[in-house]
Symmetry: C2
C-alpha cells in the first residue's frame, strides 16, 4: 500500500475560506484580519469582547522522551481536535508556529502528519503572518538603541562588557554567533563583543507567548534586563525607552493566527519559543482566546513530558491561570522499542519484549503528569508496522500502572481513527476529575524549585551546582525575583542530562552549569547542558534544493 | 486657519474594503490576497492573465532638487491620480514602500500629505505586507550560505577577504556597519571582516523592483556576484545554489500591494530601492500591472529629476520597455526661494525676486527631461503662504522656457485642487506627443555613459576618475557587462557633487570615487560622494516616544 506524503495530502486538501472557519467559533469576518484566503489574525477588539465568555476545557498533549522513531505529538494534537469535532464537541487546536530559518538547513516540518495536519503547510513554514519577523524587528530595535545610547554618551553608564542583550535573525547562521561590533572608527561607536541568536531564542518571543494582553506585553518588555553597570546593577529595556516602540512593532503579532485542519476545523497557530531556554508552548493569548470560543481546546508542549509538560504546567498554566482537564501522553510502539534498546533500522520487526522493556519510560511520564493532579490518557499513535501483540503490550503496561491507553489511527484515517480517543478524553474532561496544582509553590527558593523538578520529575539523586551559581540565585531572590518559576534547559532525549540514557534511569545527578534570568518573560533558566541558541547549516543545506517548480509550487522545502 | 495633520486626516479617512478598490481595476476578490481589510496583494495568476491587455498611459512625477522646504512629489503623484479619476479617467498611482527601520530614528513619513495621501499610513510605515522582511530573509539566507560554504571546505575557493555580499537588517544600527564575524572558535567558522547594510540597500531589493516576473527574478538573483577568488574571478549566488530558495522566500513579495488614496482610488505601493546606489523607483511589476488595468498610471522617482527621472528613464524604462507619455516636474514657490538664496526661517515672507533667482534650477530640470523626448508640465504644489505674484513668477519663467506651469491645490483640496493639472496631463498624454528614448545607447562604453549623464544632465565640464576605476570599467566591459546602464550615486541636493550648490551651477567637475557592479540588478554604480548604506539613530531616536495610546492607536510614529 502506497501512502501519500504529508505535503501531497496537504496540497490536495479542500480548504474552506478562513471566514468560514472563523464562523465556526463565532468570529465574524470583520473580526478576522485575513492574510490571503486561508490565514487570518483574530482582532484584538474581538478578543477583548469575549472575555466574559465561559472557558472551554483544556487538554494538553505531551509525549514520552522523543526518539528518532518519531512520536507524532502534533499529529495526535490535530487528530484529537478533529476527533472531538467529529463526536460533536466544538474543539480548536492550539499549536506553535514554525521558525523559518531552520527550514533552509534541514527540510521543513509539517504541522502534524498524514490525515491529521494543519494547513496551509507551505505558508506556515515560510513567512506565515509575519509574527517572527515582527519579533526580529522589535528585538533588534532594542539592540540598536542600546548601542546608540552608548554612542551618544552612555548616560546610563552601561558597562560595554556586560551588555547581555544580543541581536537575532531567523536564520541558521553560525558566523554571527560571536562577532565584534562597532568597528570601523569613531562614527560607528565603541567596539565590543556581541552576537546573534535565532529569533525563537529571543526573550521577546517568550514574552509574546506569556503576555496576557498588550499592556502586559509592554510591561514585560520593559522589565527585560539588557545590560549591567560596572557595579553590577541592572539596566532594563525600560531605561532604554524601547518598550513602547517594541510594543508597536508587536501589536499585530500579538493577535493569534487562525488556520484550519485538513478536516476544516479551527486551529490557532501562534508563537514558538524554544523549549530549552524558554517554555516551549504556543501563546497564552491564543490558548485563552480559544478557550473562550470552543468547548475543547487541544494544545501541546515541546519535547517530552519531563520538559514540555513540566514547563507547561509549572510556568504557562501557573502564570496564565490555566488548568488542564486531561493530559494525553503520546507513545508509539516504535519509540517503546527504541527505549527498549532496538536500533532504528530494526524497528520493522515485531519485538514484544523490547516494547515491554521500553515501557518504563512511559510509566514514569504518566506518574509525573498525575503528580500535578491531572488525569492521564495514553494515546498510542498507530504506525502501520505495529503488531497487535506490541500494541497490547503497551496497553497492558499502562493498565498495570493505573491508567489507560487507547490506540489512535488519526494519521491513517483522520478523525475516524481518533474518535475513540476523543470520546474518552471528553468523558474524562466532562467528569471534572482534575485537581491541578503546580508541583512547587511560588515562594519556594529558586534552588529548591530546581531541586524539586530534578528529584520529582527526573528522579535524580541530587542537583550539582557551584557555590557561585547558588549565590547568583540568592542575589536574584534578594532583588525580588525569588517568586519566579524555573525553566529547565536539558536534553529532551533522556530524564538525565545524558541524551544516550533512555528508558527510566535512576542513580544520577543533574549538574546545573549556568543560570540565567529572563526578567521580562518571568522565569529563571537552569542550564544543564550545551544550549545552542544559533544553529548552523549542514554541509548540504536543504536550501540548495528549494525552488519554485513550473507550476509555481515550492519544491524541496518538505 | 488650523489645518489637520497628515495622520489626523489619514485616520479620519473613510476607507473602502480593499475588494472594492480592486473591483475598480477589474480584480476579483479571488485574485486579491488580502492583508487585513485595507491592503492586498494582486495574485501572480491574475497578473499572468492580463498580459494581453492594452497598456494605459504612463505619467512620471519628478521634481526639482529637494530642499528643506519640501516639494511634495508624492503628494502631487497622489493628487494627480485622484485628479485624473475625478475627471473621469481610470487612474492608478504607483509609489514606493517605506522602510521600517528609519522610522525609529526620525519620525515616519506619510505617503503623500494633506488631502492627497495613500492609506493605511501606519501599516505602510510598519510591517505593511512583509515585503521588506522577505527581502531581509532572502538576502541573509545567501549570506549564511556563503559562510557555510566556506565552513564546510570552501570548494569554490572563495577568498574570504573578498566576500562582497554583506548582510542586511531593516534597522538603523551603526554598530553593525563593520564587524568581525565567525569568532569564537572552530565551530563558528573562519573569522573575517563583514558588515550589515539597511535592507533597502540590498541588491535583492533592486532586483525585486526590476524583475519582470518570478523567472526573471531567479535569473537575476543567480547573476549576483557575492565574492571573488584569489585570482579575482567572480563567484555568483548561483554557484552558492541560493537562487532557488531566495526566489521561494520572495514569491509573495513579488506580488504588488494594492491600497487606496483618501479618495478611494487604487494605489500600488511596492518596492523601495535606494535612490543612490540603486534606481529609486517602485517595482516594474507594479507599474506594468497597473498599466494593464488602468488608463493612466501615475508614478514617481526618487530625489530630484537629475537623479530620479534620469534613472527612471535610463534604467527602469529602458529595461522594462516603458515609455512615459508625460512628465510632471514638481516645484514649489518655497523651494524656488531657497534655490534663490532664502533661508528656511524667512520663507514666510513674499519674495518674488528670490523666486525668480531660484527658477533656473527648475529650468534646467525641464530641459533635461525634454531631452528624453517627453513632454513636460510643471506642477506648482501650492502652499498656503504662496502669494499670487510669486506663483505668477514661476509660471512666467516656465512659459519663457517653452513649457507650462499649473498651480495645483491637491494638498488643500484633494482632487478638486488637481483637476486642472489632471486635465492638462490627460490632454498631453492623449495627444501622443512623446517620442521617448534614453539619452545613451546600450553599446556606449561605461565611462562614456557616466560622462554623458554628467555633461548632459548635470552640465558638468568633466568627469574625474582614476585610471584604476577606468580600468575596472574596462574589465567589466571585457566580462560582458558593458551593455549595462549606469546608476549614479550623488547628492540629491545639487546638480553638482556639493550639496550646498543650489540653483543651476556651471563650471564644475564630477569626481567618481568608486564604481560597483550590481550584476543581478543590471547596472554599474558610479559613486560620486559619501554613500551611507547603514544609517545610525540620532541622539534621541523617535522610538523613545513611540507607543500605543489608551485607544490602541500608535503615537509618536508621525
Amino acid at each position: 500500500m502506497a501512502f501519500k506524503t504529508d505535503i501531497e495530502i496537504a496540497r490536495a486538501a479542500t480548504k474552506l475560506p478562513i471566514q468560514e472557519i472563523g464562523a465556526k467559533l463565532g468570529i465574524s469576518s470583520d473580526d478576522l484580519l485575513p492574510y490571503g484566503h486561508d490565514k487570518a489574525k483574530v482582532s484584538q477588539s474581538f478578543i477583548n469582547s469575549v472575555q466574559g465568555n465561559k472557558n472551554g476545557k483544556l487538554v494538553l498533549v505531551t509525549a514520552i522522551n522523543p526518539t528518532p522513531a518519531g512520536e507524532g505529538k502534533t499529529t495526535t494534537t490535530v487528530g484529537l481536535g478533529d476527533g472531538l469535532n467529529r463526536i460533536g464537541r466544538k474543539a480548536a487546536v492550539c499549536i506553535r508556529e514554525a521558525s523559518l530559518g531552520p527550514n533552509f538547513g534541514m527540510k521543513g516540518g509539517a504541522a502534524g502528519g498524514g490525515n491529521a495536519q494543519v494547513v496551509p503547510m507551505e505558508e506556515m513554514n515560510l513567512h506565515f503572518t509575519g509574527d517572527f519577523h515582527a519579533i526580529t524587528s522589535a528585538h533588534n530595535l532594542l539592540s540598536a538603541m542600546i548601542d546608540n545610547h552608548i554612542y551618544w554618551g552612555n548616560e546610563l553608564e552601561i558597562d560595554t562588557r556586560r551588555v547581555v542583550w544580543r541581536r537575532v535573525l531567523d536564520m541558521n547562521d553560525r558566523a554571527l554567533r560571536t562577532i565584534t561590533a562597532s568597528l570601523g572608527g569613531v562614527a560607528n561607536g565603541f567596539p565590543r563583543e556581541a552576537g546573534f541568536d535565532i529569533t525563537v531564542a529571543s526573550e521577546v518571543m517568550a514574552i509574546l507567548c506569556l503576555a496576557n494582553n498588550l499592556e502586559d506585553l509592554q510591561k514585560r518588555l520593559g522589565d527585560m534586563i539588557v545590560a549591567y553597570r560596572r557595579d553590577r546593577t541592572p539596566i532594563y529595556a525600560r531605561d532604554i525607552k524601547a518598550d513602547g516602540a517594541m510594543t508597536v512593532l508587536l501589536k499585530d503579532a500579538m493577535q493569534p493566527n487562525l488556520v484550519q485542519t485538513l478536516e476544516n476545523n479551527p486551529a490557532f497557530v501562534h508563537g514558538g519559543p524554544f523549549a530549552n531556554i524558554a517554555h516551549g508552548c504556543n501563546s497564552v493569548i491564543a490558548t485563552t482566546t480559544a478557550l473562550k470560543l470552543a468547548d475543547f481546546v487541544v494544545t501541546e508542549a515541546g519535547f517530552g513530558a519531563d520538559l514540555g509538560a513540566e514547563k507547561f504546567l509549572n510556568i504557562k498554566c501557573r502564570k496564565a491561570g490555566l488548568a488542564p482537564s486531561c493530559v494525553v501522553v503520546v507513545a508509539t510502539v516504535r519509540a517503546m522499542k527504541m527505549n527498549g534498546g532496538v536500533a532504528k533500522a530494526d524497528l520493522g520487526a515485531e519485538n514484544v519484549d523490547a516494547v515491554k522493556k521500553g515501557c518504563p519510560n512511559l510509566g514514569r511520564h504518566i506518574e509525573n503528569v498525575k503528580s500535578f493532579g491531572v488525569p492521564v490518557v495514553v494515546a498510542i499513535n498507530h504506525f502501520v508496522t505495529d503488531t497487535d501483540a506490541e500494541v497490547q503490550a503497551v496497553k497492558d503496561f499502562v493498565s498495570e500502572h493505573g491508567s489507560e491507553a487507547i490506540l489512535s489511527r488519526h494519521w491513517e484515517l483522520g478523525s475516524e481513527g481518533s474518535a475513540e480517543l476523543a470520546t474518552r478524553v471528553a468523558e474524562i474532561a466532562d467528569a471534572d476529575m482534575a485537581n491541578f496544582a503546580p508541583i512547587y509553590p511560588d515562594d519556594m527558593s529558586l534552588f529548591d524549585k530546581i531541586d524539586t523538578i530534578a528529584k520529582r520529575i527526573y528522579r535524580a539523586d541530587e542537583v550539582l551546582m557551584d557555590q557561585k551559581l547558588r549565590n547568583q540565585l540568592k542575589d536574584w531572590e534578594a532583588q525580588g525575583y525569588g517568586n519566579l518559576p524555573v525553566c529547565m534547559a536539558k536534553t529532551q532525549y533522556s530524564f538525565t542530562t545524558d541524551p544516550e540514557r533512555r528508558g527510566a534511569p535512576t542513580g544520577f545527578s543533574v549538574p546545573v552549569r549556568e543560570v540565567r534570568l529572563s526578567a521580562g518573560a518571568g522565569f529563571v533558566i537552569a542550564i544543564c547542558g550545551e544550549i545552542m541558541t544559533m544553529p548552523g547549516l549542514p554541509r548540504v543545506p536543504s536550501a540548495e534544493a528549494i525552488k519554485l517548480n513550473a507550476d509555481g509550487d515550492v519544491e524541496g522545502l518538505f
